[in-house]
Chain length 155, copies 2
DNA sequence: ATTTGACTTCAAGTCGACTTGAACTCCTAG
DNA sequence: CTAGGAGTTCAAGTCGACTTGAAGTCAAAT
């Protein structure tokens, strides 16, 4: 109803606004993330503000790792209209959980990495004359085998 | 020197302990993340505790998205020994930054997703009789074209 | 003595999400 | 009137990181 739906956008403009490339936009349409997009007389795609808004949602879902088939399913449900909210909720909730887990895992990795960064940073300001550094940081040594002759039980 | 380096582990045991599959372990060796692993008389790989520790570092770097070539470079530097700490630092610091950015992005996506989850949750407890729900959540509507005839400037 | 299970190598296949290429159509500007 | 730029389709290619398959070796258990 609002004038906003009357604004006609070319694929290039949508690309500029969403950050998705034009091939990606066509690909998303083909994959059913978007319903078949309107065409003008010349057969070119005509997008609306509503499309852009929806594409931004899709982009967020994708960038947080939701697989295309799952986004397609969600899009289908939304398009179907009222009555399937439980499944939509389920999809989003599951994804939220996964992303939360992902954040947690990354933060754990981050703390390991940060610890190493700190160690190197301290070493570098201390300079090469650092006495506690003879063989590099305790934390981090690619094993090499010069002084080891253990065998695996000959099995 | 410690006894810990004398413990001999089979590829299966290392797999169990690191969570990396045996093909992945061979692949990592081949890719130079690990120096060529010792073999016993039968030609089988013999890993040490030190290998496991290093593999755990690699696994953290990988799971946080560091590409194999970069991990290989880092491994090479560590193996090379003292004198290249500045580059090691650089690699880790850059990666830390990327991961930090990734976390930030995920958290932003998370807030969008969580908002939607909340909307659906509220709708579902309110039940179908919800009056403000005629056409689904404002936030989230796959545009369909039934009532729109805007054209792209015939270009 | 043979079967089992864990290991070996090497090559080839898989996966998802795009990206790229080739060939074509339009419209506008010079 | 032709050159450019943006669009179109369809098919094929790319990427990284593994995974899988085929074929073989070896040592212990039945």
């Amino acid at each position: 109803m609002a004038n906003t739906e009357k604004v006609a956008l070319s694929i290039g403009e949508v690309s500029a606004r969403t950050g998705l490339t034009t091939p990606t936009l066509r690909f998303y349409e083909q994959e059913g993330l978007l319903p078949p997009v309107r065409r003008n007389a010349a057969g070119r795609r005509v997008f609306t503000e509503g499309d852009v808004a929806w594409l931004e949602v899709c982009a967020k879902l994708r960038s947080s790792g939701m697989p295309l088939p799952e986004i397609r399913r969600y899009a289908d449900l939304v398009r179907e209209g009222a009555g399937n909210e439980a499944e939509r909720f389920e999809i989003l909730r599951r994804h939220e959980e996964r992303v939360q887990q992902q954040v947690t895992d990354l933060q754990e990795a981050l703390s390991v990495i940060h610890a190493k960064v700190e160690i190197y940073a301290r070493h570098l300001v201390a300079g090469t004359a650092d006495e506690l550094w003879r063989n590099g940081p305790e934390c981090d040594r690619v094993p090499d085998w010069s002084a080891d002759s253990a065998q695996l039980g000959e099995a």
